[in-house]
């Protein structure tokens, strides 16, 4: 499970937790998230996310 940082706002997408409010189930890997998903904090697109931890 990996964690990604949104470099626009600092929001962290944790694959373990997903983004249930945004329709992303816990355990969803970043590459499986639809391209129209946006950062729940600031609305940035997937391109703004960088991998910060890989376990």
């Amino acid at each position: 499970m990996r964690r990604y940082l949104c470099d626009v706002c600092g929001y962290i997408y944790d694959e373990r937790l997903g983004d249930p409010d945004g329709g992303i189930a816990p355990g969803t890997r970043m590459e499986d998230i639809p391209d129209d998903w946006v950062c729940p904090e600031c609305g940035a697109t997937k391109a703004a996310f960088i991998l910060i931890t890989d376990e």
Partner: protein, 340 residues
């Protein structure tokens, strides 16, 4: 007789030995006697928790050992490692103590010569900014914003003191110095642009310029204080500061929305190559475009451990020749005239 002392227990008169090599800090020496509160503040701003103090060479005695604690307290105050940005702000400053009395006095002093007035306003504005960045609670943000409004008024009213402020800006490594510099420089440009027009709330605008880097309190201190260029990952972690600053101001209900935009957009470039939103041209608010020019100028003229400070002339030349599509051309031309 050497002893490790928590940074919060440092006092003027102590002889400190910094646990850093000479290139990693901004002091003349790594071992020296503290002669001013500003030096202690600078050590704290560096992110250090403890330094060694040689009491044989100090003017003050070692602090008394703390009272023994009950066992429960030992547990609750265990040495758990707390990420500095997760820790609550130290209860160091509150709205009553945050704004130095000397700042209020200097701003309103009608007898001081412009040079002295500028020196006093500059020094105490930096002190206030350091305190606020140390304890960026909503109420402290609002208190600093009020005080910055009166500094702004003075800069707008008192041309001579304002010119002196522009001349004396220091160029060290610290966010609080940079914040005050960019506040002054942006405001001088805004004053030149807007002096004959209504419709700009200059007090709010000025405060926005001074607070443009507030969001850096949400970035890892290790990145902020890194004595070298940032790598790609660190840079991307740094890029969250405009949004985080905007959010802090919004949550503190400080500044108008229009002026909070300064904080959000001060790293956007005219050609769309900036961040965080990568907007371009007129999409960037003119207040953001002003702050961007001042921000780059101050970064270039500041000294870093990995680069020398540039002269204002060299910085302006570089901005004109090497960054032709970064800045609003009309604003930049007006900016150059400030230094004639």
């Amino acid at each position: 007789m050497k002893q490790k002392i928590s940074v919060s227990d440092l006092r003027v008169g102590m002889y400190v030995e910094l646990p850093l090599s000479w290139t990693e800090h901004n002091f003349l020496r790594s071992k020296f006697k503290l002669t001013s509160p500003e030096q202690i503040a600078a050590i704290r701003a560096h992110g250090l928790r403890e330094v060694t103090v040689d009491f044989a060479r100090s003017d003050v005695p070692p602090p008394a050992p703390p009272e023994p604690l009950g066992e429960l307290e030992y547990v609750s105050h265990s040495d758990a490692i707390v990420d500095p940005k997760d820790a609550p702000p130290p209860p160091l400053w509150n709205p009553d103590t945050l704004v130095p009395t000397e700042l209020r006095e200097a701003v309103h002093d009608k007898r001081l010569a412009p040079e002295q007035k500028a020196q006093a306003v500059y020094r105490h504005s930096r002190d206030m900014m350091l305190r606020m960045l140390d304890a960026p609670s909503a109420e402290n943000i609002r208190a600093s914003k009020e005080a910055l409004g009166s500094v702004t008024d003075m800069i707008l009213r008192d041309d001579q003191t304002a010119r002196n402020l522009l001349r004396i800006t220091a160029h060290d490594f610290y966010t609080y110095t940079h914040s005050v510099n960019v506040g002054i420089i942006s405001l001088m440009l805004a004053k030149a642009m807007f002096k004959n027009s209504d419709g700009h709330d200059m007090q709010e605008l000025g405060a926005g310029f001074f607070l443009h880097d507030l969001g850096k309190v949400k970035v890892d201190a290790a990145i902020i204080n890194k004595p070298a260029r940032l790598d790609e990952t660190e840079m991307r972690r740094m890029r969250i500061h405009p949004y985080q600053g905007y959010k802090l101001l919004r949550d503190a209900d400080a500044l108008t929305e229009e002026c909070r935009i300064i904080v959000m957009e001060h790293h956007e470039l005219m050609d769309g190559g900036g961040y965080p939103k990568r907007i371009k041209g007129d999409q960037i608010h003119i207040y953001g475009r002003i702050c961007c020019i001042a921000d780059v100028f101050d970064a270039l003229t500041a000294e870093r451990s990995y680069k020398k400070a540039m002269t204002p002339f060299d910085a302006l030349t570089l901005m004109r020749d090497k960054m032709p599509n970064h800045f609003d051309r009309q604003l930049f031309n007006r900016f150059v005239e400030l230094f004639r």
